[in-house]
Structures are given as structure tokens and as C-alpha cells.
Amino acid sequence: MLLLLSAIFVITLVSVLGYSMVGWAPFEMRWRDALLGAMLPGDGDRPGFDDIDLREFWAIYDTHAPPLVRIGLRAATWFLTFLPLFVSGCRKPFFRLDADRRDRFLRAASSSRFYLVRQLMMTVKTFAAFGYFSNGVVRGLFGIPSGTPGPTTWSNG
């Protein structure tokens, strides 16, 4: 397992370093959004990560994120997308898993015995939380006045 993890890590690192020089490719965005959406799903009552308008969030990211942050999110995206290939019960890339398997995988990964996996999960969770709560409508659900030049619309709201 350690060997497989190391192999994914090396492949991820090379890919991430290469791609970090440019913006997100469309396929990468799908991988990334699949992870972020599964990390914070909606339930019909409350919006999830997938339900909100994140254009301003990603615009701020594109403008301000330093290389370390870009590499970190990229690494988490690539690594966690392909890690399920080596997990029994999954055996597919993350974006090909159904909702239940995605959820089970995320729960298992967040308490993985491997420090690197836990840190990458933390990266995804932190971005999911920052993105979700950058939305003015979501903040409003928690009684937080917006008063911000940041995002204020929820596409389904």
C-alpha cells in the first residue's frame, strides 16, 4: 500500500507541478468539483457546495492564491481522485464513484493512518468550507450579514 501511495504521489507531484504553471484544465475542474461537492453535499433543505455560485470565489483564488496554495489544491485533487483505484470497494477514480461510495471514501480518507492523505483531505475540506461560506446567501442562512464585496448570490436561490 505504501508503495502504491508513493507511486501516486510521484505521478501527482509531476503532474501538479506541470499543470500549476497554467490554469485549471476542464477535466481537472471536474475532478476538483466532484471532490468539493461530495465533501459538502446539499440535502434539498440546505444548499451544498455544488448548489452555490462560486464564480467570485474562484476569481479571488485565481487572482490571489500563491503557488503553494495552488500546488496544494492541485495535489489534493489529483491524489484523491486516483486514490480510490487502490481502495477495495471503489476501484474507480473518484469522479466515477456513485454518491454513496464517494461519501464512504471521504470518511475513510479523513481518518487515514497516512499523514499525507489526512493533510490532503484537510486541504479539500478547508476549500469546501471557504468556498461554501464565501457565498452571501449561505452566510445569511447562518444569520451572518454579508457586508462584503465578495460573492452574494446562490444560483438556486
Binding site: A38, M39, H64, L68, R107, G131, R139
Partner: protein, 497 residues
């Protein structure tokens, strides 16, 4: 003046160039400007009007934190460290906490190097601190704006018989908006941009924002000025007739020295800080950690053991990210996010690290010693017990390899014995950094003399917490300001020139 507008070559002249506009730079600049010196302060970050501070944590971190708050130090437990990057430095985005330099910490310094006691007498530090507290309206947090997160800590500490108190803060008219870490949108936190820098400017100083200083001009063994790169693409050269004062933080100051070949003494070595971890607990009544005074209550009873506890208010997104779960369980926990309280333990770590300047950037290495991890375990135990004693239905230590949820104090008490010894099991953030250009009479042990003068280059001073011989175990802003004020006085008096 805004560096964003500088596109060509800008040439400036002054008596004293100050690099960094945080508490250290602002304090030194103020004293010097008041003494009649022509002062220019250089700040890498932008000038932020308090009405423009965003309400969400992400935008604030993107705009006003170095590396978006994701600067990471490496070692046996990699962890982020937070630094402000705006005019006013960390004072713009911190909890406005004020602590006087503890006498026992000062005595440690003097015991190790008696010359420090001669150069910086305790009475002078004490008097400078009195002035700072008066200038910045330092007062204990009013219960009316504290909010449940702070008040519950008082209840928990009382139940455990631990010495505790309301945190003294630099505020005026605080309404407990809980937005200190995003920048106070009402300007009620008395940060440096609103106070000491404004006062310095009123006495003729200039502040140049969005200029990253990379070069220190040295001629005939004497600091003669600085060279910076403006965010607008131009360069700024400033001749300083009398002194160059470095006040860019315990991470950036040694890097600036090293980048300029000024590697005299233990520059970059001896890095110390305060690693901190947090405890969250679920209460039956709403707590809403994103409201009330961001950090309004503290437990001081274990300070001499190297532990201090603070209530931790922060943006709702940060509160969510601290939850232990993922996926649907995470979304479910977020629904009741307003019921979670969050408190932190700050450790006076004995471990020492180093700051390097690889590829022109700061790289920090720091590892906790076994005794630091023991202290951390004790801190987690006390935090958990205190929270349960305050009425939490359960707490979540957030330590890998131990219980996710604990509802009984007796179980929490076992953490001090059972808690993991691998520091990577803990989720930590490092705050307050020290010691990378420490002062000392012996040139082989100090980068600057006890009067802040660089040992090898005349006219070059360091005024920030990199000169502190050790960490302090408490929030250092007031100590930094007191020492930087004294540094400014020494330069104004022409000591050693």
C-alpha cells in the same frame, strides 16, 4: 504612497528607512518621526481601508495574509503560520490581544546575557508599556460584547479552579462583531495603521505600501538605504542618511539579511514560536463562535508551565473546517455549527528551528521537542476537561488516533497519559515567532547588540521579535512595540553612531 502606482525608477531619500509597518516598524517609526527624523516606512502589503474589510475569511486571507494564510513550516509536525500582509502588519488581522512582557521572561534573558539588562532596563520597558496601553486604550474585554464562546471559558476555568481573566485588547467601541481576523470593518480595533503609523505620518513620516524590500544598501560597512520592488512593476531606491531599521518579522527579517549576504552571527537560527491546537465542543445552547469578541477570555493559571488557553472566535468557514467529519456527516454537522464552541491552547515550545532563504523565499524548519508534545498533551486534556465542565455535551479533540468525541471528564483526563506522542497526530497552527536575529553582547551568539544595532553593519537595526532571545509564552504584540519603541529612542539619541 502606493507602490501599485510606481512603474518606473523611484528615488527617495530620508534619515531612517523602516522595513515593515507592523507593530515593530510602526512603533519605531513613530518615535523617530516625533524626534524630528525624516522617516519612510516600507510595507510589502497593500493599504486597507477598514470599511473595505470583507466579512468572509477566504477573501480576507487572500488579500491581507501572507501566502493566503498558507505559509507552512516543515519539521516533525508541518504546520501553517500566519502573518499579516498589509499596512499595519499583523495588527490589522489579529485578535488585538495585549500582554505585558512577563517579568520572569525578561529575567531569563538577563540571566543568560546580563548586557541585555544594562541596555534595556526593566523600568524602561515597563514605562514604555504603560504608554502603549494608554495610547491604544488597552482594557479588559467588556462582558457586554464577549459573547458565549468567551463567557463559557470563564465558567469552565472557574469550575476547574484555574486562574482566568478577560483578555485585555486594543479596541475602542468594539461591538463584538467577531471579525477581528478578517479586519475590523468599523475600525474599532486600534491597529497600527489607525494609530502609530497615523501619528508618525502626522509628524512627517511617509508610508510606502505595496513595495517589497529586497536589497539593503551597504557602503563602507554602513547601511545606506534600501532597494525595493513595487507591485506596479517599478523599483524604489531609498537612501537613508542615518539608519535602516528592519521590522519585517522573525521570518522575513533574517531572510532579508541573508539575501543581502549579511550572514553575521546566528542569523535565521534559534527560531521559536507558540504552536497552538484547538478544542471544539458541542453545547445545547447556541454559541456562534463567529460572533462576540474574537478572543475575549484567557486562562492564565498555567502560563509558567508553558501553557496558555484562549477562547477562539473566527470566521464561520474556519469553524466549519475544524469539524472532524467529511461528506454527508460534515454537511450534517454544519447544520448545527452555531452550537460549537472553540478554544485554543498555546504552547511555549522549547524547540528551536531555523529560517532559510531558498530560492529567494523564506523557508522555516521547526520541530517540537518531546517535552513540547507532553505539554501539548496536557493542554489538550485541560481544554477538554474545561469545556466539559462548562457544560459541553461532548468535545472533539481533533487528535488522530484518539477518540473523535468525548463526553466524560474522566475520559478526557486520560488524554495526558494516552494521547499520541507523534506531533503529526495533532492539528496545529504556529503563531508568534521569535529569535532569528537575537540580541546578545557576544557577536558569535547575537545578530544584533542589546541596543538593537547589527554587530557587523553600522546604521543597521533590527526592531522586531527576531531580536527576542526566546519566545515569551504570551501574545507578544505589546512586548514587540515596547522594545521597538526603545529601539527608536536609541536611534534618535544616536547611540553607537
Amino acid at each position: 504612497m502606493d507602490g501599485a502606482a510606481v512603474r518606473g525608477r523611484e528615488k527617495l531619500a530620508c534619515d531612517v528607512a523602516v522595513v515593515g509597518s507592523g507593530p515593530a516598524g510602526a512603533s519605531a517609526a513613530r518615535v523617530l518621526a516625533r524626534a524630528g527624523a525624516r522617516v519612510i516606512v516600507f510595507e510589502e502589503g497593500p493599504f486597507a481601508r477598514f470599511r473595505d474589510f470583507p466579512s468572509d475569511g477566504f477573501t480576507a486571507m487572500a488579500k491581507f495574509y501572507r501566502d493566503m494564510g498558507a505559509s507552512v513550516l516543515m519539521g516533525n509536525a508541518p504546520m501553517p503560520f500566519l502573518q499579516g500582509r498589509a499596512v499595519g502588519g499583523g495588527s490589522v488581522i489579529n485578535g488585538a490581544i495585549s500582554w505585558r512582557l512577563p517579568r520572569d521572561v525578561y529575567d531569563e534573558w538577563v540571566l543568560n546575557d546580563p548586557a541585555i539588562g544594562d541596555a534595556i532596563p526593566w523600568d524602561e520597558i515597563d514605562a514604555a508599556t504603560d504608554e502603549i496601553e494608554k495610547d491604544l486604550n488597552v482594557l479588559p474585554t467588556d462582558d457586554a460584547v464577549a459573547g458565549p464562546n468567551n463567557l463559557l471559558m470563564a465558567k469552565g476555568a472557574e469550575a476547574l479552579g484555574l486562574e482566568h481573566r478577560r483578555i485585555s485588547r486594543y479596541t475602542r467601541g468594539c461591538r463584538g462583531l467577531g471579525r477581528c481576523l478578517q479586519g475590523c470593518p468599523e475600525g474599532n480595533r486600534l491597529s497600527m495603521d489607525l494609530t502609530y503609523l497615523a501619528d508618525a505620518c502626522a509628524h512627517g513620516a511617509r508610508v510606502l505600501s505595496s513595495v517589497e524590500v529586497g536589497g539593503i544598501l551597504v557602503r563602507d560597512g554602513r547601511a545606506a538605504g534600501i532597494v525595493g520592488r513595487a507591485s506596479g512593476g517599478g523599483t524604489v531606491t531609498c537612501e537613508a542618511g542615518r539608519a535602516v531599521v528592519l521590522a519585517a518579522s522573525a521570518v522575513q527579517t533574517p531572510v532579508l539579511l541573508m539575501k543581502n549576504g549579511l550572514r553575521h552571527g546566528p542569523v535565521g537560527l534559534g527560531f521559536q514560536g507558540h504552536p497552538g491546537t484547538s478544542m471544539i465542543g458541542w453545547f445545547g445552547d447556541p454559541v456562534r463562535v463567529w460572533t462576540g469578541a474574537t478572543q475575549g477570555h484567557e486562562v492564565t493559571g498555567m502560563r509558567k508551565e508553558g501553557l496558555k488557553f484562549e477562547a477562539l472566535g473566527y470566521d464561520i468557514a474556519v469553524a466549519a473546517a475544524r469539524l472532524k467529519s467529511a461528506g454527508r456527516a460534515f454537511a450534517e454537522e454544519i447544520r448545527a455549527l452555531d452550537h460549537w464552541a472553540a478554544w485554543g491552547a498555546c504552547v511555549r515550545a522549547k524547540g528551536r528551528g531555523r529560517v532559510g532563504a531558498g530560492f529567494g523565499r523564506a523557508s522555516v524548519r521547526f520541530s517540537l521537542l518531546p517535552e513540547d508534545v507532553f505539554r501539548l498533551r496536557r493542554g489538550v486534556r485541560v481544554l477538554g476537561e474545561m469545556m466539559l465542565a462548562a457544560g459541553a455535551e461532548f468535545v472533539t479533540p481533533g487528535v488522530h488516533g484518539w477518540h473523535d468525541k468525548v463526553a466524560q471528564r474522566a475520559v478526557m483526563a486520560r488524554f495526558e497519559e494516552e494521547g499520541p506522542l507523534d506531533p503529526r497526530a495533532y492539528t496545529m497552527v504556529l503563531t508568534h515567532m521569535f529569535g532569528t536575529c537575537r540580541m546578545g553582547a557576544d557577536p558569535s551568539k547575537g545578530v544584533v547588540r542589546p541596543d538593537f544595532r547589527h554587530h557587523a553593519v553600522d546604521g543597521l537595526y533590527v526592531a522586531d521579535s527576531s531580536v527576542f532571545p526566546t519566545n515569551t509564552g504570551v501574545n507578544p504584540q505589546t512586548s514587540i512595540m515596547a522594545l521597538a519603541t526603545i529601539c527608536g529612542r536609541r536611534i534618535a539619541a544616536g547611540t553607537g553612531q
